[in-house]
Amino acid sequence: MSHSKLSVNLLWRLALVIGLTFLSACACKHDVKASGAGKQSQVHADESIAMAGQPQSEVTDSSKGVENPIPGPAVQEADAKPKQAPSEAPSKQVAVVAKSDGKALAVDGGEKKADINMDVLIERLKQTPAIGVFTKLAIRGDILDLKDEIQTYKQKSMLQSKLDDIRARFDGLLIKIMALLQADPALSKDLYTARESIWKSLLGANT
């Protein structure tokens, strides 16, 4: 390994360590705040239940979001407080709703399909650091071989009979590329999403 690459690796690891330390510090603060809020809400709940005359044994931890079996008005107020406390909660809830909604997913998928640009995908494949130069050349050679084969079958008017075999080879090649792109999951996902468009362009490129 060359000296420059070694130093880049070291720098990368150092950046990761700093990032993780920062994340852990944030997480610890968040835990402290959350536990503090939980304790406060528990205190509020205890006080309000005592005022409402409910037995304390029936109280569950409101910070965990478990519903009280007998929710009095005061308890409901106490339960409402911790739900409003974290500022990140609304955005997370929106995301969850969007994910759990089938229509939203379909719309999202439609937008992604519309956004697929073959030139951009090819450029991203060329630029990705997850695959080395020689491997990229080997993949390029495989794709060119497949294109040549399609062209040959077209000239012999045998494309329809060989379509299943060529599709199987295409799928195999795509799986190989996706396996190589483990360090670039976004590109891997986009390639898989665009597989039908790639297949059509591969067939259409030789017409």
């Binding site: 990368w12 990761l16 080395g132 050349l137 190989k176």
Partner: protein, 84 residues
């Protein structure tokens, strides 16, 4: 929480070098992509030669002891063959 962070840290250390592919890893991947067994993810004893026509010849030894020759033509075609 600590265990989770330690796990993430360990994973990040193992994933980090994978982002920057070294020539040794690249050549090993190319050999495996052509269907040859390499016995590991990195080759050793890399010997690279280029002629004036733009063709390149690389010889490398896999962890299983087999030495391979990789020919890269000027138009970017890659050919791998084991050396006896």
């Amino acid at each position: 929480m600590k265990h989770l962070l330690l796990t993430i840290f360990a994973l990040s250390l193992s994933v980090a070098p994978a982002l920057a592919v070294t020539p040794a890893e690249d050549i090993a991947t190319t050999i495996m992509l052509r269907g040859y067994d390499c016995g590991g993810r990195q080759v050793t004893n890399i010997d690279e030669q280029a002629d004036g026509m733009g063709n390149k010849t690389i010889r490398a030894t896999c962890p299983n002891g087999v030495r391979y020759q990789i020919n890269i033509s000027a138009d970017g075609r890659v050919q791998v063959k084991p050396l006896r």
